[in-house]
Symmetry: C2
Subunit: 414 residues, 2 copies
Amino acid sequence: MENFLEQLTREQLAEVERQFDIYCSGAKEIIPAWELKNKIAMSILKNKPLKVKLGLDPSAPDVHLGHTVVLNKLKQFQENGHTIQLIIGDFTGKIGDPTGKSTVRKQLTNEEVKNNAKTYFEQFGKVLDMEKVELHYNSKWLSRLNLEDIIHLASSITVARLLERNDFSERFRAGKPISLHEFFYPLMQGFDSVELESDVELGGTDQHFNVLMGRQLQEHFGKEKQIVILLPLLEGLDGVEKMSKSKNNYIGVDDSPSDMYGKTMSIPDELIVKYFELVTDLPLERKKQIKEELAQGKLHPRDAKMLLARTIVSSFYNAQQAESAEEAFKAVFQRGGLPDDIPVVKWQGEMEVPIVDLLTELKLQKSKTEARKMIQNGGVRINEVKVIDINLMVDIKQEPVIQVGKRKFVKLER
Amino acid sequence: MENFLEQLTREQLAEVERQFDIYCSGAKEIIPAWELKNKIAMSILKNKPLKVKLGLDPSAPDVHLGHTVVLNKLKQFQENGHTIQLIIGDFTGKIGDPTGKSTVRKQLTNEEVKNNAKTYFEQFGKVLDMEKVELHYNSKWLSRLNLEDIIHLASSITVARLLERNDFSERFRAGKPISLHEFFYPLMQGFDSVELESDVELGGTDQHFNVLMGRQLQEHFGKEKQIVILLPLLEGLDGVEKMSKSKNNYIGVDDSPSDMYGKTMSIPDELIVKYFELVTDLPLERKKQIKEELAQGKLHPRDAKMLLARTIVSSFYNAQQAESAEEAFKAVFQRGGLPDDIPVVKWQGEMEVPIVDLLTELKLQKSKTEARKMIQNGGVRINEVKVIDINLMVDIKQEPVIQVGKRKFVKLER
């Protein structure tokens, strides 16, 4: 790649540095950093926006706070006049898993793909200016490839290189089968970058291998190589696993203000700073200040979390709704009262029910094992009184209020 | 597969056994033998010929005696009324090696493919009745495959299974690169069997993996699985390496009767029986007798070889030409005279030339190193006198006859 940096004026160089600092903030890795600066320089010199790509899995359109990490990064590019390329991976979605073994990668109909894309589009609109976003379906070019094209594509990569990908290498070492077609998914993702001539691709750190594939394939096809920006993965409410719908540890961008607020309040204290950094768009200075004050003990974690929750709700709704959510939260959890909007269930069964059965039948717990654990951990209350006995028989006739954890309530009526 | 054997009459069963014995003779492996019997039974019951497949590499059309091993096997099927499917692998030939690394798999033009197919066709006609043979070009179906088809195809096979193939596993262990596209060649060969619904596929033992792939893919696509018949590889004139054009250790089916005869006479004694078994169509009984007589010392190896050479020349030419070739051979090698048809070269260079240079310039030896070895081994004669001195200066003015090995002669003229 030509060196554009040395062709810039001092003011232009300062602009490169300004943008570069923004794009680096919160990023885990930039591969390679020098080329990113040079690409920014090129876009300034040629007055040509960079093409910044994000690939999306069409099978799981529920957008949560984990996505906003990358969305916020896209927003930074958009605010500096660059072009966002969203790729809906509808080709793979339509194929599903041909071995039929994976339920996750089940085959989607055209309509499902379109609906899921629409969901992304609506929910991303909460962060990005969608009128300026390019939306692409990769079936457009992937379905046109024939065997000859694919052999050329496959010739650019070695089997050993593919087996280096973490999940592949683990399975290979463990003697677990890897179907040959699985090797195609990274190739297809990489080929999207060839087709769209992307300058930058964003991804979570778990996308390391796939996103680098784009660089490799672009080079193979004689194109400029894209820059890879890897963003940290956001842990979910449990503080351990990556936030995801399937782990049920997520804050959905479609959650109600009170849910969003309450869920934010439930994150472990250790994650407060990371959440501020990754999912809020507060100025860098403000984020630093919060971090320092927390470290020095000047800011109480509870107060920091309330600020975080308010900031998050404000960004997806507005300041007033954030305040209402805070008020409601305080009413329940800080003053100790019950919330106003407890769902009511008309009980159809026996009038005396073991507490464990009741929790699972009301779907407050997934399994009896988990229900028992929750009781043993002191997480279950009936009419605000902690349940001690895991064999307790609940008297439905009294129309009790059942509470699980901090925020799940059901009022039973007979 | 349905059991057809139990539906046969006694006479029909005898016919199955008769054919089965023929197809087994000389075969290294039949996978699985029971199914072959059952397929023969089916063809008898339904009066439906079996489809017997042989795949051909379009890049190397020079047919030699090594090919006749498999051609003779095809001939046996043809004589029993079954259908031969010859597949020209033109698809791979047209692609070549996309990495550009292999000179062997260079890209062929349409015309080259057609010409090579024509060569096969003409040369195979010396063994098979080509009017009854089906000729297929696999580009017909392979070029139609799109990415979705290929992903389905690839989903049927695991990476570990592909890495089991001998050459792949060796390279993988040695850390040598295997390009992903190389995994496609066995898949494509297997898919040919799916498309043509082959009942039987023939191959050399080095084709073990590829030919079994057809079975696996047919099953994946819900078809009856083909039987695999693996035939031993024929060692070339050196008695060590597989006969091949590139090793220059072959007897071409287009060789002149005298070349064919002479080359056959040059094989090591240990190969006499194997050549009788694999490349002649003498009756099984006769082959057994020769083997026994050789073992008992009743038949001299030289006489056995002469019989072999006569038989081979007869089958590609006729008995009379075989006899002439034998006469000529005897004239030179047994009576010690020079042959009548020595090629004459008009020498343009110096009149005194070192013997080593002369041998390479006349292309009687590939390199000076080999020329020196040949002299040291006593394989070079000038005017029927063995050359001892590797630094000998040859006097061209005497218009000498140069002889290398038993059968290469050049007469120099100034």
